[in-house]
């Protein structure tokens, strides 16, 4: 297992990032080096170890179903790169 140029291409597409050819080349090399370093984790025996996705032993943090004020439309759309009436505007979504 490792990371090659094709994998980087696939992953960059998943992440919706356009890479120029020289970027792709450089990134692939750098990521390979980084992954090789990270692969040292494979030396560890983790068979009976539980994963930690939350460091605090917390649970059941809940909020009451009480309405709070929404944003005024001017604030919602204030920083929008493109808008039409009260909507955000995007290029057509191909279906």
């Amino acid at each position: 297992m490792g990371i090659d140029k094709e994998t980087v291409k696939y992953v960059a597409n998943l992440a919706r990032i356009e890479l120029r050819d020289e970027e792709l080349k450089r990134l692939s090399e750098q990521l390979k080096q980084i992954i090789d370093f990270i692969d040292k984790l494979k030396l560890l025996d983790i068979k009976d170890v539980e994963p930690t996705s939350h460091i605090l032993p917390m649970s059941n943090v809940l909020r009451d179903d009480q309405p709070r004020e929404s944003l005024p439309i001017s604030k919602t759309l204030e920083c929008a790169p493109a808008k039409e009436e009260n909507f955000f505007l995007v290029p057509k979504v191909i279906e």
């Binding site: 120029r20 984790l41 460091i55 057509k92």
Partner: protein, 482 residues
């Protein structure tokens, strides 16, 4: 003494005695910024600042921070003030809300500066070289980096361009620049300070914390910004101790652990010597020093760069040119092309590198081998600390294996850069609090930081030990010549 060089307690005293006014403090800061920030680049968007926005605050001298200006890292949301994470992709973003820490500071009377402090784009970096606004220089030697990612916050405090500043710490981003710049920086226990309004890098590791001129200011700010926040499911509902109260308590009999893994290969000999002297100093102050093991230390960087980048890849997916920030515009583009060009042009190199690494770690076929494995090793790292804290009150280590490095020295070698966080990352993975305080200078005149770590929610012991050390040493009084 210029007001910009003073600490909160001294300034508060002068304000109360009506020797000075709040605008006097702000003006002295702005004057200093005007004088030195061209060299340091601690603040961003300084040019755009229309003076006075933040001066309209009326302040109540009765409040604990009444009249005290606070400088804020560019990834903490300030309502109406640009918050761009020093990234092109967030150009022009003005949050419609205040981060909880900002709200708390305002309620305590603080004045929030409109200009924000420089940082590595989205906090991705250890040198503040990855900012779309240029590199922040180290006030002690402007050819050296200030550290990162909160380099602007640390440099602004060190250069007396700020009274206090807020930073964020995901793998050392408060402590490492504090150490490089010779100031105090604290990463609180995960869950101690609300993350609401901190633009997320890695949600399970991020914490906001203070960067200050001394330990007392750090304790004062921590008391204000800590505590449960109903807007953050990961903030903990525990009473906030009166941190400044513990300052001055002696440290006789306190058990301090020194992990041997932090003094092996990779550590700069000068740093090693300075840290050993600091440990001796602590012993003289009455602490019991004990050597311990943190056996999984060497895996921390690898674990970190999987977990942090995986979370980041998801957290940064929202920057897509739809609702705010930069959009690559061209009427010919379809949606997917717009996404790709916006993100391709809007993110800098390090951001792209980390997003792609993190996406890889979560992608089909690699999840178990990388992400899940990293979560399991994280468990082992946490257990190492649990073991040590069974019979020790705190741990001391160097904050960084080296003093500040030269600008440009590591920028083309990401792995080398990542390894400069080797001593700070474990605290984030284990969720425990850690402080960095100045503990000496190299022959070249660069500061060295001492890191103290404690059990979760035990910031008090950090303040106690840090303050005792600070009072016995001259380092915090040193000022860079600019």
């Amino acid at each position: 003494m210029e007001l910009n060089t003073l600490t909160i307690e001294v300034l508060r005293d002068k304000l109360k005695k009506k020797e000075i006014t709040a605008p006097d403090i702000l003006n002295s800061l702005y004057k200093r910024i005007k004088e030195v920030d061209k060299k340091i680049n601690a603040y961003v968007r300084v040019k755009d600042l229309k003076p006075g926005n933040d001066q309209f605050f009326t302040f109540n001298p009765q409040l604990p921070l009444g009249g005290i200006p606070v400088s804020v890292k560019d990834n903490i949301c300030t309502e109406g003030y640009n918050t761009e994470c020093c990234s092109k992709i967030l150009a022009g973003f003005k949050p419609p809300y205040d981060a909880t820490v900002i709200k708390k500071l305002k309620e305590a009377g603080a004045i929030i500066l409109e200009i924000k402090t420089n940082m590595d784009e989205f906090a991705f970096g250890s040198s503040t070289e990855n900012s779309c606004f240029g590199t922040t220089a180290n006030p002690w030697n402007i050819n050296y980096v200030a550290g990162g990612s909160s380099g602007g916050s640390a440099a602004s405090v060190a250069a007396d361009e700020a009274i206090v500043a807020l930073g964020s710490d995901t793998g050392g981003s408060i402590r490492q620049p504090a150490s490089f710049c010779g100031v105090v920086g604290l990463k609180p226990t995960y869950g101690r300070v609300s993350r609401y309004g901190l633009i997320a890098f890695a949600s399970s590791l991020d914490q906001i914390g203070p960067i200050t001129k001394d330990v007392r200011d750090c304790a004062i700010i921590m008391k204000i910004i800590s505590g449960y926040d109903p807007y953050d499911s990961t903030s903990v509902n525990l009473e906030v101790p009166d941190y400044p109260k513990v300052l001055g308590m002696d440290i006789k009999g306190i058990k301090i652990a020194v992990p041997k893994e932090y003094f092996v290969e990779g550590i700069d000999p000068e740093v090693k010597k300075i840290i050993q002297e600091a440990i001796e100093q602590l012993r003289e102050l009455g602490a019991q020093i004990k050597e311990v093991c943190l056996p999984h230390t060497e895996y921390a960087v690898a674990v970190y760069y999987i977990i942090a980048t995986a979370e980041a890849s998801s957290n940064l997916a929202r920057f897509d040119g739809v609702q705010y920030g930069f959009r690559f515009s061209n009427s010919e583009l379809n949606l997917i092309q717009m996404y790709k060009k916006t993100r391709g042009a809007g993110f800098g190199q390090e951001a792209k590198r980390r997003i792609i690494l993190g996406t890889f770690a979560l992608s089909y076929g690699y999840y178990e081998a990388y992400y899940l494995r990293a979560l399991k090793v994280r468990t082992l790292i946490k257990k190492d600390f649990d073991e040590v804290f069974k019979d020790c009150d705190c741990i001391v280590t160097p904050t960084s294996p080296t003093p500040a490095f030269k600008i440009g020295e590591k920028i083309d070698d990401p792995l080398k850069m990542y390894l400069s966080d080797i001593y700070t990352i474990s605290a984030n993975l284990a969720g425990i609090p850690a402080i960095s305080i100045p503990c000496g200078f190299t022959k070249d005149g660069l500061p060295v930081g001492l890191q103290i770590l404690a059990k979760a929610f035990n910031e008090e012991i950090l303040f106690r030990v840090a303050y005792a050390y600070e009072q016995a040493t001259p380092w915090h009084k040193m000022k860079p010549r600019l």
